[in-house]
Symmetry: C2
Subunit: 187 residues, 2 copies
Amino acid sequence: MRPLRADARDNRMRILSAAEDVFGQSPAASTDEVAKLAEVGIATVFRHFPTKVALLEAVLTQRLERLRDRALELADSDDAGLAFFGFFSQVVAESASKLAIAEALSASGTVAGDEAKAAGQGMREAFGSLLDRAQQAGAVRRDAAFPEVYALLVGASRGATATGLESDARDRMLALLYDGLRAGAGS
Amino acid sequence: MRPLRADARDNRMRILSAAEDVFGQSPAASTDEVAKLAEVGIATVFRHFPTKVALLEAVLTQRLERLRDRALELADSDDAGLAFFGFFSQVVAESASKLAIAEALSASGTVAGDEAKAAGQGMREAFGSLLDRAQQAGAVRRDAAFPEVYALLVGASRGATATGLESDARDRMLALLYDGLRAGAGS
DNA sequence: GAATATAAGGAGTCGCAACCCCGGTTACAA
DNA sequence: TTGTAACCGGGGTTGCGACTCCTTATATTC
């Protein structure tokens, strides 16, 4: 598999970025809306991504990988508690458009493909390691296991987005959550 | 507007119930799947609900009204804290199919119609009153305002559903949340 | 139990959006 | 510069699902 020609690579990136925008705003958007925004013919979109679902998955994968990288960066931080809670807050703050994409995928009835699944796995592992460190540092209570903490991460993102929470209310919501996660961490 | 004929009323209920089932499992389902399950012709579905969105809204409205009624019942309870947390847990436990429906609606790009909006409003008010009482009883901290608590309710439902949480993990998740909501309630 | 309004059913129609074809264009190598 | 393989564009095609027409059936009323 030879490297892509320069214009093709360029178009691919423009399509991905446009798709992120378009589907982020409305999961029901059509493929040529993406093509229009990317200033590219429809055929070009389908040449790069053989199906609409493939395009959605590519966008989702990209986002998950970005989150994983962010988590990995933070894993080296001195303050494990700050790293954990900071990551959590950031994910919730940026969740709006990512959610719409995941929604579009699940609405299309498709279970995520291999690539997206792997990206999700990587992201969860990185987050899990942040959680571990925060627990060892005494910043998060030890009896909080990964599944429920991860559900809270996803849930906080969705809840904030779905109810259209203002940023200050979102901060108060997170403060409530964090109090629950810290409760009795010292013991 | 005369009362519906008996068979029509019967069919209407069967359609609503079938729609709840079908859309609860897969938001992308087609209208005749609903008709099939309800053992009814497609035309009958459209006679009762002029559009697919109208059908989705009717299902959602019904669910929201049930939740509101449940909240109103609990408002008379002796133990305001138990009432609040009990309602919260129940909503989260039953959320799976309701969410799929709300998702289907938002995926179709439609903002909820008047009826569904009113039902949502009624439900939120009933929940708000449960929160008020729980706060006055000292079971929930006073600095938790409605928007963030409601976002947590929605978020916990979605998080639990989206991550496929087992029921015991769900209970632990709720326990974390409740600790956060109670923190310093005595002060 | 006959008349009639009301409802049911299911084979259509119609539009939309995913996906393909093929003639023209452009990056890259020699 | 020129050849050519890779790429692009945008008008078709096709399938699917929302919605309708019209004939037949059945509840209700007197």
